[in-house]
Symmetry: C3
């Protein structure tokens, strides 16, 4: 979001970052400690009042030509590159830069208050220093914690509880009885707590199973634009602390997403799937329902997970792309892989081969 931009000296900025990092982001400054910094910027476009960093050693040539006022580098990169700019030397340049960017680019704050066109039920409890935007609806019994911002047109259902300092961007909808923790960010168009997808077959039609559970979201969770998280059928859908969910993600009823897991855009997690903590789910990945993925699993974008994963690791299921002409030639063979394997086996048999017994496809 657009941000107010304070001017800080590099030394002041370093002090602010060190405070945020709780002592784990110590840095030394080489160069002009009094340099005024206005903004965080990419290597290629940074100017004399900008701070930048080296994200990837592949871009090290850009360090030689950057016009940035200051750079965040590891000691090793600093020694190797010897840039002309002032340098913040630290062990984790990306994290240091992230905190510095947060200091430089604070989200615009609204003055607390309730816009005239908002409709807040008298039984709702609104904390101190809350901003409630135009056309917002807060239903009966809802609780909105101190310092929250509920932006234009958002909907907070009956009995919803929202922790301190959480921000709902315009047009977020949180349905009845769901809860969000503190310091969450929910982007426009997200829907939290719509009914899960549950129907019993009966006489050729579908009988709706009432979805009586909730969505329970922890602290420091970010939820992307137009993402949907369904309420539980019976029992709750749970998103633990520090989970980061991108845009247009679908999370089905009764899922549990473990702490610190990130889910990239367009991913789908079907009902009752249990995802561990510290996982990374790639964009447009699809995880079937009723399976378990253990902690510290990474899944490639576009991958379909059809069974539980019990070993940490990196998993993929992408048909490699090729020109359509090549694809037509190769895809036709995919339909006959079993026969090909059998023909190889027959050839081996005729020649008396003894193939590797580890080949479980036999």
């Amino acid at each position: 979001m657009a941000a107010g931009r304070p001017q800080l000296t590099l030394a002041e900025l370093a002090a602010a970052v060190e405070e945020r990092g709780a002592g784990r982001l110590a840095a030394t400054i080489e160069g002009d400690r009094e340099l005024l910094i206005e903004a965080a910027a990419p290597l290629e476009t940074a100017g004399p009042a900008d701070l930048t960093f080296l994200a990837n050693i592949r871009y090290r040539n850009a360090v030689a030509t950057t016009r940035a006022g200051a750079l965040v580098l590891t000691a090793a990169d600093n020694a190797a590159l010897r840039p002309a700019a002032s340098v913040v030397v630290c062990e984790q340049p990306y994290a240091w830069f992230a905190f510095a960017a947060q200091v430089l680019h604070r989200p615009a704050q609204r003055a607390p208050g309730i816009e005239a066109s908002a409709r807040v039920d008298p039984s709702a409890r609104i904390g101190a220093d809350v901003w409630i935007g135009p056309a917002v609806i807060i239903e009966a019994g809802a609780e909105v914690g101190a310092g929250c911002a509920i932006e234009a047109g958002s909907y907070v259902g009956r009995g919803v509880r929202i922790g301190k300092g959480t921000r709902l961007y315009p047009g977020v909808r949180v349905m009845d009885e769901c809860t969000l923790g503190a310091s969450c960010i929910v982007h426009s168009g997200a829907v939290i707590g719509a009914d899960g997808f549950g129907f019993a077959p009966f006489a050729g039609t579908w009988i709706k199973i009432p979805q009586t559970g909730r969505v329970v979201i922890g602290d420091d969770v970010e939820i992307g634009a137009n993402t949907t998280i369904d309420r539980g059928t019976m029992g709750d859908t749970i998103v633990e602390d520090d989970v980061k969910i991108d845009n247009q993600v679908q999370i089905g009823h009764n899922c549990r997403i473990g702490a610190h897991t990130v889910v990239a855009g367009c991913a789908g997690i079907a009902g009752s799937a249990i995802i561990g903590s510290h996982c990374q789910i790639g964009g447009a990945a699809m995880i079937q329902g009723h399976i378990t993925v253990c902690d510290r699993v990474a899944i490639s974008g576009g991958t379909v997970i059809t069974r539980s994963i019990n070993q940490p690791g990196f998993y993929t299921s992408i048909f490699p792309f090729m020109t359509n002409t090549e694809w037509e030639r190769n895809a036709a063979v995919v339909r006959h892989l079993r026969e090909l394997r059998d023909r190889i086996r027959a050839l081996e048999s005729r020649l008396g081969s003894a193939p590797d017994n580890k080949d479980s496809s036999r």
Copy 2:
């Protein structure tokens, strides 16, 4: 959704379910007919005032330890498991339980009326016992049937017709001239009747084809959060009775979805595809445009359907997932399947093999 919770005896509940099932859900009660039931709950967490059921014989061990007051079982399972709780014995426990849960968990009802901040065009016709929430817009010539609930911030375009007892959750948008049947449920953020995606190429640019058709939706249809159903280019997009569509599904212009078909989350159905009745489209499946899928087809989640399907059955197109290391080894070979087949053929030729003539990959 959160629900009022009546207390019923098990016998009263059985009578209510039998009435809903129109005589096809007869059950006998073994145990305490006067047991008070408050809620439907899962086997694992159900307590003495809860009703539960056995969804899958895999969970039969949980029957021994459940604290549930009452269980819904088939006669066979009841005989085999002999649970301590009271038992409702019937032929279709899942359907029986679904109806019972509907009785126990009725959606919260709003008192009929029109909120002050709603804007209803004077030419719109609003039936009896309708609730129209805050910031709702009802445009000229729209018709809203008796007993409907149009929740906060929803939009009902010009000439839209909505049948009796249909519920639009907050923030649903139904564009001009579209129609919904009776007893439908549409979840937050769904968009019904946006323009289809149609452009003619001309001189290196794209010329928009006006999308002049409608979306026509039958009775008892459920549409998930943030799902989109486009209006027809010329002629209509049609969703027949009792179709159940999950969240974030995209249905293109001029599609037809047959009665009783279910479409799971994140699926995409491209323009002019015709899907039969009683189909089951898995999550994130993608169906290309201008093809036909016959009745009673099931499609796995993550599957891409590129041609018409004329035989009922279960279809799949998933690259199996594996560790990324294994995937790199195997995916490289996919690019050369045709050559591998040719090398097998060459080997067979040298050895004078006579492979099975049914192998059409030759």
Copy 3:
């Protein structure tokens, strides 16, 4: 959208199309120049006051039976088919028909004005002949160009600039500082300028990178319902002129989409991907981040692009669909393709074969 329908003679319609085509859509009329035309319609359902066209030579049999008053055809098709109806003969029937349909089906226009329930910040600049619908929010410093329509419940953030003649359908959200060009169409539920997905790892948690860039959208861009386009991290996300984006597409931070490219529904383009001009991205295709796709690339629906593409062409990565039973047989072999290749190689080695050296899978 529903449209007012003028009555024009075929000659008047041809003159209107020729004017729109800037001289590149000349046509000759064979038959009744004074025939009154009311609507564009498909071959199968067109009546005597309708104009239709032949989209595909496969449908030529329908020309013999159509009841349409007038047909748009190439000279060759007209000579071959000799229809009974009046004929507009031109070189590009589809483009001619598209323009004619635009003439016949103009979108319903609102009388300019600002609805009472809209909240327009006094510092916003609103051009001439703008319509601002109910419950719309226009924030401080925003600029809305002449002739725009901002429909019910839409949100235009601080400092947003919108060019002339652009239409936001109900419930569109454009976040702070983003810009849209002239003559754009944005469908309901689209979110332009939500935060990109950027976090730095630190001590087991995720540190948010402020997303300080914008979304910059050119002229004549169409954006589908519930599509999301994220703002840049630092620097902007760019969508060039005449790009057409379907529903439920996700475009990540710092992407650039080249002019005249079309992106079909449910596609996902991850952060920092650069897509050329005149590309066609199929439905539910997924393009990984930080890669480049050159101009004039077509990508099949459901395809995953994992590396940059430097050659124009048509690319695909779909596992071919089959019955689930066949799939289980064949997918099991996919996990062992490398071993199969090695077994073939071993057989060749024993027989002294000399396979084609071009086979890079060796």
